[in-house]
Symmetry: C2
């Protein structure tokens, strides 16, 4: 994933672009404020002492790092001198905490000074280091200034001096993966190949025998799977354990596969991706079914009301998918990426950008939200606040997930309205995707390059016009044309976009007898806001409903709601168990995009409906 | 609940009696062995020191106490001199650990000596004390010997000297309730009213302001509900928090309501019972939906595959129901009691009596058991081994739950085959209940008493013959006849017993569109053992199936299996999400009693089936 391309892609659509603006204006300033209020920033002053409030926590540095990374990424699409000034102040604060040997971690500098690197399996030091490195690279890409980058190179050099297979080095690796992909970024920004080698070491050493966590840290064998350290990564065939850790690790694995052109490693990454998305992914792109260990469980175990589907895990799946897409060019990766971006990837943050879901269940029953269930409304912050700060850095990069703009080729993966400008060419994508299937791709500055346009797998019929004339359609997932494009050339992509009733594999117990509604890449849900008085979980949809589109009320302009006739139960007091079947009555139902639920006050919500 | 009646009731049926025999021969000896192996018995020697293995845990004493209680109860129905000798040895061991002031707790005698009663909310001291008292009362009832009883009276006296509203006393109460109902038993066995008063104090003080756990122990407010201490018990309208604690507390509450004839307290107990069984109980009689905090959640939240439904909680619900049944004589309490006894109350233990479920989900999906899910097979023991030892004492008392035999009245609540012998009369109940609805009630020794026979609420049609002649049927739940019964008189109860399709209230999201099969009080399930190759969770049952009875294969003689035609999906590899509806094919399905699942090797299991 080439973050430096961010400056070339400017989103102009109705879904992603407003989220980026809100992130700039609300989410980032809000997260900075929370980092201040909670002591996360003050921790970098290294003045905390026993008895003081706000004891620096082992993973606080990562939250600050993600905000810094988000500020840098945001500056590339929304120049803002005041934010840039604040960013530089914060970087000075952070760098100021760096130790002479390059080490930078607030907790282990003021507390537990003698415990550096003694508990890799739990204590998040390498995880925090990775996030700081990513932040430094983003700052360098945004501003060209090397101060932060150089500091984090010193930190990476220090880590490189400690870890590895050379005699005297620790043969450890992170309990919470993240530094792998960060080191690859640092390698790209600096050209220093040692960082790539260190990333590769962390990936390859993981889970080998004798197991480091077990032998050096007395970590129980039973916990290894949660950290993807139960066997060497190359031998792993199923995605297991903590979902965010798994996604970050496999994204790093893919990076290394791409950098080293190691076919076995790529095959490993693709295998793990297939297991994820063909067996263990929600229709929303969510992953990690269970709150226990925030983890993957097993094939087809995808409960809806009790789904965990952490926001950060969806972001991690997007990172993983994007890397495999860039390496292989296969449409299947873009299909998953798009599923994540328009659904679980956005559901974790409110339209106002000020509240967040940590978990993203696919069903919120009436009694759950009445009781103030923990996942029934978005929260302003969390003790473990990885998700809010992850959005700071994820949202500004949405453009990168929509297109890949190399000097000699442009691949449009998600045809959201955007401008792609390079020295070699400029292209404008117009339309109201994902709510409308007609997309214009206009050459604003001609050039000699290959244009590839994805035909999404959900689309059953499409047309492509080149300057108004139909051209042969493709069926390998991308329509590709290499030519000397003239300024004013226009490709029109017409994707048939109809609401569909979508079934999960019947091996998914939670979805048996049920189906979801999807239109294009957008997964719909019923919310009680639009369906007052209806027991949502009892709703039935016909197998072949007649859908009507309507502007969704109280949601951003352009958002399409879907109306259809169905049935639902009118509940009445009776015995908890009895022989009378529930009585259904005909009702009008209104579905809205899942990603936007709980933006209009508290509401019950249901994605999967019984099929009549 | 009058345990002393146990000697008057001898079960002879095909379901409960064999469980009692297995408990005597296998479960109790096995639990004694485990208590030995794990150091639970050795702990009473008070010789443990730092560095030794098997550090006495805060709740180990309760496990030993429950085994002792079970041995005593078992001796009443299965005299066994060797077991009685062993019991006396163990009692000597236990009593030997009692301190001069009456205190008896292995953990706080050899470890944390200075921390007695300093953490009531978590440390289980009063809980362990309660179980020891119950064990002592059971021993006294079984043998007439007072040694253990007197020792536990000294312990109760000591506790009474510490807790209460008098100046200088601690105004605390247990974090894990249990001692309340134990003190009532101790009151009955000893006649000492102070024990009843202390029990009443513990119940009434609970949750009052200023909150003891919060003010004296710095326990977070957020944790109070888990311990039913968020408000005074009298003001509680919903059953909340840790399910076992709640059931034990409310059983004690009912005891006190019965003893004190306090109508408000009884009303409170009945209200909490109704909330439990009308809103928060599984069809199996299981309670406590979630593993988080082993707790109740909220109305209608009854997930199946992820049900917790701890074995001990079902036992607790039986204790609660039995008390309200004895106090009020209302059939609704017997209905719930019976639901528990024939379903979740027995599912927690194998037919061999040597393995146990801690949790009792209502669905075990194919992939769950393939992966060795924690609840996919019964375990020999647990670190927290409350459930196995609870069975030791629960099973011998099953007769007590079936009938109430007072000198002047006999109430038959569950017409399992049994003999009820008192000085005043003797009655034999015959038949194959619950698998056959024809029940004989024969007077073996005549006398002047009132006979009440329950007509279960699941029964839509019944007949009663008195000496072969039909008598008027009752519809208030009990048929009652007061007369001078002659030896040889016979009442015949004919309950129409047909398999039925049972629906949960449609407000239960997990069961929407589904139904269970029940025959009489027995809830059925599909097991893959009987339905090989069928994706059980995809099974559909017609709304009006034709059932055929068949002897269940590999299960105890007399167990009826149910055959019916249904449908199921034949799975094939395809996309995880797609527009093709799953294809169903006609299949023959075989259901067996839920309580007996996983007794014939590992198996998937399904109670709720889609209704076609």
């Amino acid at each position: 994933m080439n973050d430096s391309m961010l400056k070339n892609i400017r989103l102009k659509d109705g879904v992603f672009a407003p989220r980026q603006e809100t992130n700039w204006k609300t989410t980032i300033p809000g997260c900075i404020r929370r980092c201040e209020e909670t002591g996360r920033l003050k921790a970098f002053e290294l003045k905390w002492k026993e008895g003081d409030p706000d004891k620096p926590h082992i993973f606080w540095d990562s939250d600050v790092a993600k905000v810094l990374e988000g500020m840098s990424a945001s500056l590339q699409i929304h120049p803002d001198p005041a934010m840039e000034k604040k960013l530089d102040e914060l970087i000075d604060l952070v760098i100021g905490a760096q130790q002479p040997d390059g080490y930078l971690n607030t907790h282990f500098t003021v507390i537990d000074q003698d415990k550096r690197w003694t508990n890799l399996h739990d204590w998040h030091e390498l995880y925090c280091a990775g996030h700081l490195m990513e932040a430094a690279v983003a700052h360098y890409q945004a501003t060209g200034r090397r101060k932060f980058l150089d500091a984090m190179r010193r930190y990476a050099d220090y880590i490189d001096s400690l870890f590895g297979r050379d005699p005297g080095k620790k043969r450890g690796y992170p309990g919470h993966e993240e530094i792998e992909l960060a080191l690859v970024k640092l390698y790209h920004a600096s050209g220093e190949k040692r960082y790539l080698e260190l990333a590769r070491y962390f990936v390859e050493e993981r889970g080998t025998e004798p197991n480091y966590f077990v032998t050096a840290e007395n970590f129980p064998e039973a916990g290894l799977k949660n950290r993807q350290a139960h066997k060497p990564v190359r031998e792993q065939t199923e995605v297991d354990g903590h979902a965010v850790r798994a996604m970050y690790l496999f994204a790093g694995l893919a990076d290394i596969a791409g950098e080293t052109s190691d076919p076995a490693l790529l095959e490993c990454a693709e295998r793990l991706f297939r297991n994820t998305v063909q067996r263990r992914m929600y229709i929303t792109g969510g992953v990690g079914s269970t709150q226990f260990g925030e983890a993957f469980t097993h094939d087809f175990d995808l409960p809806n009301a009790l789904a965990y589907a952490e926001s950060c895990a969806a972001i991690g799946l997007a990172l993983f998918a994007k890397r495999l897409l860039d390496i292989t060019g296969k449409c299947e990766y873009a299909d998953v990426l798009e599923r994540v971006l328009y659904n679980n990837g956005l559901s974790g943050i409110s339209l106002q950008g000020d509240t967040f879901f940590y978990a993203n269940p696919l069903e919120m029953n009436e009694t759950f939200f009445e009781r103030g269930h923990i996942y029934s409304s978005r929260q302003k912050w969390f003790d473990c606040s990885c998700c809010p700060t992850n959005y700071c850095r994820f949202l500004p990069r949405l453009g990168l997930f929509c297109a890949d703009a190399a000097p000699d080729r442009l691949r449009i993966d998600i045809p959201a309205a955007m401008e792609i400008c390079r020295p070699e060419y400029a292209v404008e994508v117009t339309g109201k995707y994902p709510y409308d299937g007609r997309i214009g791709i206009k050459i604003k500055k001609g050039g000699d390059f290959t244009l590839s346009v994805r035909i999404p797998s959900w689309c059953r019929k499409h047309e492509i016009l080149l300057n108004g004339k139909a051209v042969a359609v493709s069926d390998d997932g991308y329509w590709t044309s290499k030519r000397v494009w003239q300024t004013g050339d226009e490709v029109t992509l017409i994707l048939k976009l109809v609401p569909e009733v979508v079934y999960a594999d019947p091996r998914v117990p939670a979805d048996i007898g049920k189906a979801a509604v999807q239109r294009g890449p957008v997964v719909y849900c019923l919310e009680s806001t639009d369906n007052p008085g209806i027991l949502l979980h009892s709703a039935r949809i016909p197998a072949h409903p007649e859908f009507t589109l309507r502007a969704a009320e109280g949601l951003p302009a352009g958002t399409e709601a879907l109306l259809f006739r169905g049935e639902a139960v009118k509940p009445s007091d009776g015995p908890l168990y009895g022989t009378n079947p529930p009585a259904y009555e005909a009702v009008q139902l209104c579905a809205v995009p899942f990603a936007l639920w709980q933006n209009r006050g508290k509401s019950a919500m249901q994605i999967y409906l019984q099929v009549k």
